[in-house]
């Protein structure tokens, strides 16, 4: 079993069955299915950030750059009025995002701590302005995706991107794969080195590891997944715009990740769910939901440091 502890197993067996059944309850209302699809996509993004910050110790405030790039890369690469293959473009986008991350990483990973926070933020802003100022790529309004890709593999098509329920299940599967992927990475030898680097970089260097390369590899990996999430988001709504690259998104994802329990990976899903749920209900409660959200975040930092996963673990793991 790839799950690390009882809490994660518990979460796993509650969340995924419920998520699988969710469209049955919401069948009447496509709006809600598409809403939870967005949450699932966001959870992929938050998970990649959680890995980067919680497991690799690289605090970035520019992760939304890759989310946005995932969407924009598709618009830039795909011919406007032609149907393209989903898988081929998934591959392109992940590879290009990873390549960009490698280049950006060379600058970013020379620094650490507070510098890294500020530099990732500034580079993401550079990217934001590139797209929001450029007339060619739609400026502030962004661009539409007129024709969604088809999803056949060797002529066999399993699902339709235009079908809300199909798309939901596909995103859920992606989230599941992501979780399994990160679990696998973390229990591998590579994960051992990443754990070592997070806990004691100086020692790890002295043992002969080139920690820069390991960090760079992790950065590229998480960035590619972040871009994948952005790609899914763009496909869901059929457009891209600069707000996908905004620093507010990075900040919000950070809040979700901490709310869920930093570094737990599965906590990212809980954090995203709770935050989005709260956001949704506050938004309906009052026009000034931002105020309540801000107060909630401040209270979170002050009182609830280990997040939901940490709280659940303190309840469930005591006996061991």
């Amino acid at each position: 079993m790839f799950l690390t502890n009882k809490t994660e197993a518990w979460f796993f067996w509650v969340f995924f069955p419920l998520a699988l059944l969710a469209p049955l309850f919401l069948e009447q209302n496509e709006f809600y299915v598409s809403k939870i699809t967005t949450v699932v996509i966001l959870a992929i993004f938050v998970m990649s950030l959680d890995y980067l910050i919680g497991r690799c110790g690289m605090v970035t405030l520019g992760h939304s750059m890759f989310y946005g790039l995932g969407g924009y890369l598709f618009v830039m690469l795909a011919p406007e009025y032609e149907t393209v293959n989903f898988w081929v473009y998934t591959f392109y986008i992940c590879v290009i995002a990873a390549a960009i991350a490698l280049i950006v990483g060379v600058v970013v990973l020379r620094t650490s701590g507070i510098y890294m926070i500020m530099i990732t933020l500034a580079i993401a802003q550079m990217c934001f302005y590139f797209f929001s100022d450029s007339i060619h790529w739609g400026g502030n309004d962004g661009l539409f995706i007129y024709i969604k890709p088809e999803t056949s593999i060797f002529g066999l098509s399993f699902f339709d991107l235009d079908n809300v329920t199909h798309f939901y299940y596909f995103c859920l599967l992606s989230l599941f794969n992501c979780l399994v992927f990160f679990r696998m990475v973390l229990r591998s030898r590579f994960g051992r080195v990443m754990d070592a680097i997070r806990e004691n970089p100086q020692r790890t260097t002295a043992l002969g590891y080139n920690i820069f390369l390991f960090r760079l590899a992790s950065y590229a990996m998480a960035s590619a997944l972040g871009a994948y999430a952005g790609y899914l988001f763009a496909l869901q709504y059929g457009y891209v715009n600069p707000s996908m690259l905004s620093w507010q998104l990075s900040g919000t994802a950070l809040v979700m990740s901490i709310l869920g329990g930093m570094g737990t990976i599965y906590g990212a899903i809980m954090g995203t769910l709770v935050y989005e749920g709260l956001h949704y209900s506050l938004e309906h409660l009052t026009e000034h939901w931002l105020l309540l959200m801000g107060i909630f975040i401040i209270a979170l930092v002050m009182l609830f440091k280990s997040g939901i996963a940490g709280f659940l673990e303190s309840l469930l793991e005591k006996r061991s």
Binding site: M118, I123, M126, F130, M262, L291, G294, M302
Partner: protein, 287 residues
């Protein structure tokens, strides 16, 4: 570009740079002395501009609104430090980032609650409303020159306080060795409160003097925050001198970029930053 336009742009650049310095100096001071990264620093700039507008509406006196805004800002800074920031000294950067993001949310919400989301404007004070003739045809607004001189005066005052006074000595000591200061029997928490209050006040004053030059819009704080980040990253975190050099560099480069290469102008300063970081990862004036 002829000489006259060049001169005007240079003045614009320097003036913008000096304004950036005013904001960035607070950010870098707070980080240098207290080790706190205050993402809500830009919000203070926004608060300054809105306060100036608010009091200007009531009193029609720019000087009065400036003074009262600064006083309110100082009190706000002290309040925030005493209630929230003081719990963050032993926490990691991530928590500081999160807390200050929450503060940004709160300030943005309050701004929209109190003053709405429409763009606002403040008139240039009468005494400073004219223009100076630089050459035969080129004019330059007096108010912008006033802002530049005002920023220079603040910079000079900062230099004086930090290098010539007892408070400044403590600030310098606090930057290099925190425990030392405490061992000397100084109440470090009071020093922190003063520094944070001063930092907030610097940003707010910048917002006040910028109010007659720019339209007052939601989100102005975040925009300026990011520019300030570039400034302090280039100059070196915690260094006031670095902030001055970085701010002037960013101001001039940004201004000329928008004339010479308007298409990619907003990216140029970030590219500049990346290049400087490649050469000096800790910024130009790091300790």
């Amino acid at each position: 570009m002829d000489l006259a336009i060049f001169l005007v742009q240079l003045l614009n650049g320097l003036q913008y740079g000096l304004l950036l310095f005013l904001i960035a100096s607070g950010l870098t001071l707070v980080f240098g002395v207290m080790g706190i990264l205050n993402l809500a620093h830009g919000s203070m700039y926004m608060v300054g501009a809105y306060l100036a507008w608010y009091f200007f509406q009531g009193t029609e006196s720019f000087l009065f609104s400036a003074v009262i805004s600064a006083v309110i800002a100082l009190m706000l800074g002290v309040l925030i430090e005493r209630t929230l920031i003081c719990r963050m000294y032993k926490r990691n950067h991530l928590d500081q980032v999160l807390l200050t993001i929450g503060m940004i949310f709160v300030f943005n919400a309050l701004q929209s609650l109190l003053w709405g989301n429409d763009p606002l404007g403040v008139d240039v004070p009468d005494a400073l409303s004219g223009s100076l003739h630089l050459t035969g045809v080129v004019e330059y607004p007096v108010y912008r020159i006033f802002v530049a001189l005002f920023c220079v005066a603040i910079a000079a005052a900062l230099y004086f306080v930090i290098n010539r006074t007892r408070l400044g000595m403590l600030i310098r000591a606090g930057e290099s060795n925190r425990e030392m200061v405490e061992c000397l029997g100084v109440d470090i928490s009071r020093l922190y409160t003063i520094v944070f209050g001063a930092g907030v006040m610097l940003a707010t004053i910048a917002g006040v003097v910028a109010a007659p030059m720019a339209s007052i819009v939601p989100g102005m704080g975040e925009h300026v925050l990011i520019s300030c980040f570039v400034v302090v990253v280039i100059g070196g975190m915690g260094s006031i001198k670095g902030a001055l050099v970085g701010a002037l560099l960013v101001g001039v480069v940004d201004t000329f970029a928008s004339v010479v290469v308007p298409d990619v102008a907003s990216m140029i300063v970030y590219i500049l930053m990346a290049v400087i970081l490649l050469i000096k990862p800790q910024g130009l004036f790091s300790n």
